[in-house]
């Protein structure tokens, strides 16, 4: 067979937030990127490659956008990519539940005139709701192929692949009437020759797009911005009413027409359990027991399953090895190097695989189920109650809520906040006393050994300091224009067990890949500084702080050092200290709170630097660490006074 070298074609996956773009990306590339039932799962563009019938494709997964008129920075990246690095094909992902909302974006994309295919996702859900979409008719209206699919179950992927070959430019939706059309032509002439999509860009200028001028200036040498501005102002003043309004009216009429002819709804809507559950979960009263129920479920499972599994694995898998080693090296260097206090095997391997891994497995299974249900955006409605009091008006809630999953990702999503003040507060609160999913899992495991009361004390304290920090920052930072809270809430759906297991598997795999080397290196590091006497020196210096102020045994210095490398390693060490009886009830609670607050993980610090610039980020990390120590010391005193 002759090998054909076709040129690489670039595909961009575009769509509203939470319409299954990443899932389609995974289905096409057979790679895995994290997918979840909430908006902003993808914060950075990802690309991958695949082949169909000898045709190589590069495919780009993008963060969600609503239309080509831009609201925030990350949407801007997507538009700049589309407009200035023109892909060969666009796949627009549309959630069938939100066909009407998605058509606004479709309209804009059709105006660009890039060949396009539409993946009409979650088609099973609309059918269940009694909504029937005639996808062939939609395709006729748009002039591009529309493929029905259920992306989470990988249904429709083959059809999508087959259609890529016949992706075509759609029908340009509307003409705007004489004055606007002439205006478009006039502005087109002022745009630099090198850029494409002049018609669409001119339209965006007429709608007073706030970012476009800068984008064009950044790629072109000729600067016609003053002329363009003059021209658009002239056109706007010739107009009775608003140009944006007229353009939107045309757009809406086009959308209404398509929807009225392609969507059929049955008149009776069934009361569904997911809808009922969604309402309960964001209700100001009933929502709280639901939240507490989920926390209890996770706590119970970690304590009664994960801890038991971990203990069993420790007994059956680790003891024989330890015994064997003790048998060969009863004492001396090798004994210490392998299974001593900072032993390579004890610390690096057994800690990661036998202690931390089972806890994370159980926790992630539950957490991912809750995440895929779509519970988290509903939780953001509940959290609004607290956030209002600490000066976060609205859109900051979603990033902070995401912090319960992964703080790094949550920090990156603060890009969508326009208010500098809120952005700063959000980044601070995410980095500070908010436990991310693995931290939460390990905290539950540690405190579960002491009983539910310890868990309640520690978390009440963390919530308290988080609120105080928010209030304080709100007071000292200068007010600026606040953001509005406008958040589409996804439908609650039954999570697919396969998808949950797959996601858990990948998260654990990534943990092992990233963490085991860090566990091993930090064990080696501690082993070496211990051997050369440096560790002893540090401990001597820190003695008043650790023992006097925080009330810890001196071994907690190891925990804090490990905390800088990887929080899971620190938690593993705490578990070990509990097992050998070195931490009492109060010390455990204080240890958990200080490790939760102390140094955000390296990835989170990198994200902070990216969002805040180096100096502010480092100041913030310093302040967080200083307050972690002070607050933990105070907590220690309070507990000593109140708990016998």
């Amino acid at each position: 067979m002759k090998a054909v070298n076709n040129p690489l074609k670039r595909i961009a996956i575009i769509g509203l937030p939470n319409t299954g773009k990443s899932q389609v990306f995974n289905n096409l590339t057979k790679k895995y990127t994290v997918v979840a039932n909430f908006p902003f799962t993808t914060v950075e563009m990802k690309s991958g490659t695949f082949n169909i019938y000898n045709q190589p494709y590069e495919i780009i997964d993008t963060p969600g956008i609503h239309c080509l008129y831009i609201h925030s920075e990350e949407e801007l990246f997507v538009r700049d990519m589309l407009v200035f690095k023109q892909p060969d094909i666009i796949i627009q992902c549309i959630d069938a539940n939100r066909l009407k909302q998605s058509l606004t974006l479709t309209f804009d994309l059709l105006e660009l005139g890039i060949p396009m295919v539409i993946s009409l996702n979650a088609i099973d859900e609309t059918t269940k709701k009694g909504i029937l979409i005639d996808s062939d008719a939609v395709s006729k209206f748009l002039g591009v192929p529309v493929i029905e699919s259920i992306a989470i179950n990988d249904i429709g992927t083959k059809e999508l692949k087959d259609t890529l070959e016949v992706a075509r430019k759609g029908t340009i939706p509307v003409q705007y009437g004489e004055i606007i059309e002439e205006g478009i032509l006039a502005i087109e002439k002022l745009l630099p020759n090198s850029i494409s999509f002049k018609r669409k860009l001119s339209l965006l200028f007429l709608q007073e797009d706030p970012f476009l001028m800068d984008s064009i200036r950044s790629i072109s040498e000729t600067d016609n911005s003053a002329k363009i501005k003059e021209k658009t102002e002239e056109l706007r003043s010739h107009f009775r009413g608003s140009i944006s309004l007229l353009i939107n009216q045309k757009k809406n009429a086009w959308i209404e027409n398509i929807c009225s002819k392609t969507i059929k709804k049955q008149k009776i809507t069934l009361k569904s359990f997911p809808e009922f559950f969604a309402r309960i979960s964001r209700h100001p009263v009933y929502g709280i027991p639901v939240l507490l129920g989920f926390i209890f479920l996770m706590f119970y499972s970690v304590v009664n399953f994960a801890n038991v599994i971990a203990a069993w694995m420790h007994d059956t898998l680790w003891f024989p090895i330890e015994n064997q080693i003790t048998h060969v090296f009863p004492s001396g260097f090798w004994n210490e190097f392998l299974i001593g206090d900072y032993g390579f095997l004890t610390f690096g391997i057994s800690n990661a695989i036998l202690t931390v891994l089972p806890i994370l497995s159980v926790f992630f299974l539950l957490f991912n189920t809750i995440e895929d249900m779509g519970y988290i955006p509903n939780l953001s409605v509940l959290l609004k109650r607290i956030s209002e009091k600490i000066g976060l008006s609205g859109s900051a809630i979603m990033p902070i809520t995401l912090g319960f999953g992964c703080k790094t990702m949550a920090t990156l999503t603060t890009k969508s906040l326009r208010s500098k003040k809120e952005r700063y507060i959000a980044i601070y609160l995410i980095a500070f006393a908010l436990p991310c999913a693995p931290q939460m899992a390990l905290n539950m495991s540690i405190l579960g050994r002491l009983g539910a009361r310890a868990f309640i004390i520690a978390f009440a304290f963390l919530v308290f300091v988080e609120i105080v920090a928010g209030l304080f920052l709100n007071k000292i930072l200068k007010n600026d224009n606040s953001n509005d809270f406008i958040q589409a809430l996804p439908d609650i759906r039954m999570p697919s067990p396969k998808a949950v297991i797959k996601k858990t598997y990948y998260k654990l795999l990534w943990f092992l890949k990233e963490a085991i080397p860090i566990f091993v290196y930090s064990a080696l590091f501690l082993f070496i500084i211990d051997k050369i006497g440096l560790l002893g020196g540090i401990k001597n210096i820190l003695k008043p702080l650790i023992i006097g102020f925080l009330g810890f045994p001196i071994e907690m210095v190891d925990v804090l050092i490990l905390c800088m490398a990887r929080h899971e390693a620190a938690s593993g060490m705490i578990i070990k200290l509990i097992q050998v009886g070195k931490l009492n009830y109060i010390q455990c609670i204080v240890a958990v709170t200080i490790t939760t607050m102390f140094v955000p993980c390296v990835a989170n610090i990198m994200a902070m630097i990216k969002e805040l610039k180096l100096k502010s980020a480092l100041i913030m990390v310093f302040v967080i660490n200083a307050s972690a120590f002070i607050l933990a010391g105070i907590l220690n005193r309070i507990l000593i006074l109140t708990i016998k």
């Binding site: 939100r98 706030p210 107009f239 944006s244 939107n248 964001r282 609004k384 509005d484 406008i486 958040q487």
Partner: protein, 251 residues
Amino acid sequence: MNKTKIKDEHLEILWKMKEESKDSIDDLKKSTGKEYDIDIVEQLSKEGLAEYNEKDKKIKLTEKGEDLARILIRAHRIAERMLHDVIGGDFETGACEFEHTVTPELIDGICTLLGHPKKCPHGLPIPRGECCKLSKRTAESSVVSLTDLKVGQSARVAYVTTKDDQQLHKIDGLHIRPGAVVKLHQVYPAYVIECEGINIALDGEVASNINVWKDINHALHKDNISKGSSCRDIENKKKKFFGSFFCKRRY
């Protein structure tokens, strides 16, 4: 057009210029177009309604002029609001002539009836009248804010006022727009509404900017009226409606 009307138009444009913080005579010329009349400008300055500085070519309303312009602008925008809310469409044609013929008392009456609207359908501020200051709510307005609905109630969106374009695009992108039916599910800690099949959470400020007809069949009345009239009428109406967008001036 008679002299008084042209004078009124000049006053209104000077008010608009004040809103946009413009004060040069060129802006006035541009905005008035053919109607620009230097005699009127001089008359205004003679009557103490405007200060015209020939040297820097600057012109602005005096306090007395502002009082007069406020009444005119208020009448015009209230008229637009009324036509838009009640008829639900062609608000431009009627409003143009309106401000020259009504009394401030009548305007206050309409304003009260509409529930003291703050903005005209273009989103420009309506100057406050005596009635707004007293905040009389004599008749129950047919248009209310989303925040005035009860949980479980459905309503049809009449108009949305927003503080900036970006917010408008965001709301519009979720299809919360005139004509859409919304159902209020929850008011605390955040407003949750259902619109076009999806649930949306909003904060109080955004929700208060969404104004709705409590009667969800409201806009449908309009269709019924249209059906009653002949096709030709509708064609003419449409022409007038779109035509009005292309008028030289806007208020």
